[in-house]
């Protein structure tokens, strides 16, 4: 158990340091706004350093593999198959010293955590809840890095402008020339998604250097720190529950050995391990403490996404792109118009039904242009 505590301490300290560094940088930005552009190089380096960490944590931890088409489903299935096999085999590797000790009759219950590799233990819990997400994130990280490099190149070469740069790498100008709003929208969404999760906060401010954008960057970094701190809490909660579950598994294994009902293959062990873990996690998820923390994380994640989006819009302000905030207004008006049309359609139908129900004394011809839409009868 001591070893496990140690690895948690290390992990908590490392994550806390990241959060503190981040906050320090935020404060620095607040106090030295005039020198921000000189700080750019240093910041970029720092950002790159924490990039991978951030990328892996920014995804809501339990979100991998959802919303796919059939083709993508195969990829997800393959990824899930690999991930599950990985957990299965890693579990064996971790428990192997325990099995071996039991085989040799040298196992003592109190030695359990000394035999378990704490890093491996953490890795399994991370995989179970998607905190690792290295595989699916790699492609995205590569793409984001590519986008970022393109931006950085453009900064170093004043002769290039953003339009040319994107024209090289993205179907932006094709869409422009064809006036294809859907393509433009898709381009923007792809771009915004990449930028939200990578360099937008920093580069957004360098694009025009305006104070509001700078302020947004600072807010965003503060928010990122808050998010990381909460995520840290949630992970700790899961690790503690896992420790408790593993100790219960060990107790079960010991009890079985004593009463002669021991499992005879690893699959049986895995099933037992899984059942106990599930019970413990569900008990945790059923607590108000967990529910409150999860809700707070969802809120922080949502705030963070909103801030990224705002920053991205600041960054793209000089370019002919329709922003989501502008579309919001269009959506609202569209919705209102649709509602009015629906109301009018219903009124027309009601009138038609009333007319149908009341026989006209002088004419048998139905009114011109009478609709055949479904009526709202029998009210």
């Amino acid at each position: 158990m001591e070893q496990t505590t140690t690895i948690f301490d290390t992990w908590v300290n490392t994550t806390s340091k990241l959060v503190n560094d981040w906050r320090e940088m935020t404060e620095k930005l607040n106090s030295e706004q005039k020198n921000i552009w000189e700080e750019a190089g240093k910041m970029q380096q720092t950002w790159m350093h924490s990039f991978q960490n951030m990328m892996q944590n920014m995804q809501m931890p339990f979100m991998s593999g959802a919303n796919a088409g059939v083709g993508a489903s195969m990829q997800d299935a393959f990824f899930n198959m690999l991930r599950s096999t990985d957990i299965y085999t890693q579990l064996f590797q971790l428990w192997q010293p325990v099995f071996r000790a039991m085989q040799n009759n040298s196992f003592q219950n109190q030695d359990f955590w000394k035999l378990i590799d704490p890093q491996g233990f953490k890795s399994i819990v991370d995989k179970l809840f998607g905190f690792d997400a290295v595989g699916p994130m790699k492609t995205f990280m590569d793409q984001s890095t590519q986008v970022m490099n393109m931006w950085m190149n453009s900064f170093s070469d004043a002769g290039k402008n953003m339009g040319q740069m994107f024209g090289n790498g993205m179907p932006f100008f094709n869409a422009m020339s064809q006036m294809n709003p859907q393509s433009m929208m898709n381009w923007y969404i792809d771009m915004a998604r990449s930028a939200q999760r990578s360099m937008a906060p920093f580069l957004g401010s360098t694009s025009n250097g305006t104070m509001p954008s700078m302020q947004h960057t600072v807010e965003l970094m503060e928010q990122w720190g808050n998010y990381m701190a909460k995520l840290n809490q949630l992970q700790t909660m899961l690790y503690k529950t896992s420790v408790s579950a593993w100790e219960k598994v060990m107790q079960t294994v010991t009890d079985r050995a004593k009463d002669g009902t021991m499992v005879t293959d690893f699959n049986q062990f895995y099933n037992e391990w899984s059942t106990i873990n599930e019970r413990e996690y569900v008990a945790l998820f059923n607590t108000d403490e967990y529910a409150a923390l999860q809700a707070e994380l969802i809120k922080l994640n949502s705030d963070l996404n909103k801030m990224y989006e705002r920053q991205m819009e600041a960054f793209l302000q000089p370019y002919p792109v329709v922003f989501r905030s502008q579309l919001e207004e269009v959506y609202k008006v569209n919705h209102e118009l649709r509602s009015r049309i629906n109301t009018l359609e219903r009124m027309v139908t009601e009138l038609q039904n009333t007319a149908k129900a009341t026989p006209a004394p002088t004419s048998t011809t139905p009114p011109e242009g009478q609709e055949t839409k479904p009526g709202k009868k029998d009210k």
Binding site: M60, F62, M63, A66, N67, A68, V70, S73, M74, D76, A77, F78, N80, M81, R83, S84, T85, I87, Y88, T89, F92, F99, M102, Q103, F129, V253, A257, M262, V263, T264, D265, F266, N267, Y270, S274, N277, E278, Y281, V282, F285, N286, A291, Q294, A295, K299, S302, D303, N305, K306, L327, Y331, K332, N334, H335, R338, N342, P374, K376, K377, D378
Partner: protein, 351 residues
């Protein structure tokens, strides 16, 4: 002495590796996995919502048309996941004339859609289309959240509904075993909707997955044992695809759904309002068949059972079905018993 031998374990792992390799190859061979293949025609559409009419089979003998209302969360294909495991086909074979409302996939422009527009708008329009076509009242069959919608609709428009059938339907949103309810109570839905517009389907899916946290890993470990059985693998993948196919939720409807139902439990308390009208479940006086799943981890039985005490119907049935939330529709017992049971109940009230 502990009985796990190193030799056995090595063999187990060698077998696991082989299965994994076979799994990769098996996945590479699959081009498509059709779902929802029971023949049907689109008979109405508005915005992104469509109404389908399933082709009437020779055995269709129940006159009252049935409108199936599925949840906005996930897609209706689960009821027609494959030809030999199709709740829809089974209902058809049992003699029902079936319609289905397909809610579609909301996009960002749909964020302002309200629950009232879904229920008093699209659903009511679909009901009217069927009534116009058939000249009679309908039987409403609501599933999961679609059941909640159907109950609200039946309370607001009882004159249009001849029979009400609900399956795994949440009505009491504050029962002790309801983990989603516990989570929802803490959710700041205003911030979520204000920031994001529509609520991502993957966020909901992530929550559903946490209700059985080990399942995601266990099912893939298990399927490796059947990797060379094409039929089983395909069934498994169809279900995986269905799980992942989770539409985003229109923001304004979701806000009300969470605040009024999950957080306020207003339907049970009799304080739920829609379009300026209070939804009084006592207005539901038509025959009611309420089916719940004994091991439902998404909608605990108590959350569904509550309905029968709240409605004004005198002809009301409560039926327990073995299995979980999805097993009710795709399980082997379901294939034999559920659809014929519903058809018999409806047939007895078809006069």
């Amino acid at each position: 002495m502990y009985s796990l031998s190193p030799q056995n374990i090595i063999e187990e792992f060698a077998a696991a590796s082989t299965k994994l390799a076979r799994g990769v190859e098996a996945l590479r061979q699959i081009d498509e996995l059709p779902v929802g293949t029971t023949p049907k025609q689109k008979v109405w559409e508005k915005d992104k919502v469509s109404l389908f009419h399933f082709e009437r089979g020779p055995g269709t003998n129940i006159k009252t048309p049935v409108l199936i209302v599925y949840a906005l969360v996930n897609r209706h294909h689960m009821m027609d996941i494959q030809a030999d495991r199709s709740f829809i086909r089974n209902l058809q074979s049992a003699g029902l004339d079936l319609y289905l409302i397909d809610w579609g996939y909301p996009t960002p422009e749909d964020k302002y859609f309200t629950m009232e527009e879904y229920i008093n708008g699209y659903l009511d329009d679909a009901v009217e289309v069927i009534r116009e076509k058939t000249g009679q009242k309908i039987s409403l069959m609501g599933i999961c959240q679609g059941g909640t919608f159907s109950v609200i609709y039946a309370a607001l428009h009882p004159q249009k509904v001849k029979n009400l059938v609900t399956l795994v339907t949440p009505i009491d949103f504050a029962t002790p075993r309801d983990m989603l309810s516990k989570w929802a109570k803490h959710l700041d839905v205003d911030t979520l909707v204000n920031n994001q517009g529509n609520v991502p389907g993957e966020l909901l899916n992530a929550g559903f997955a946490l209700l059985k946290p080990m399942l995601r890993t266990n099912k893939y470990v298990s399927i490796l044992n059947s990797i060379d059985k094409e039929g089983q693998l395909h069934n498994f993948l169809r279900m995986e695809h269905w799980i992942a196919d989770s539409p985003d939720q229109a923001g304004e409807y979701f806000r009300k759904f969470i605040k009024d139902l999950y957080q306020g439990n207003k339907l049970v308390q009799g304080t739920f309002e829609m379009g300026g009208s209070r939804v009084d479940l006592k207005n539901i006086t038509m025959p009611l068949l309420n089916i719940y799943a004994e091991e439902d981890h998404l909608v605990p039985p108590e959350a569904s059972i509550a309905l029968n005490d709240l409605v004004g119907s005198t002809d009301k049935s409560l039926t327990k079905f073995a299995g979980g939330h999805i097993g009710v529709f795709v399980g082997s017992r379901s294939q034999r018993e559920l659809a014929p049971g519903i058809a018999t109940w409806l047939n007895e009230r078809d006069s």
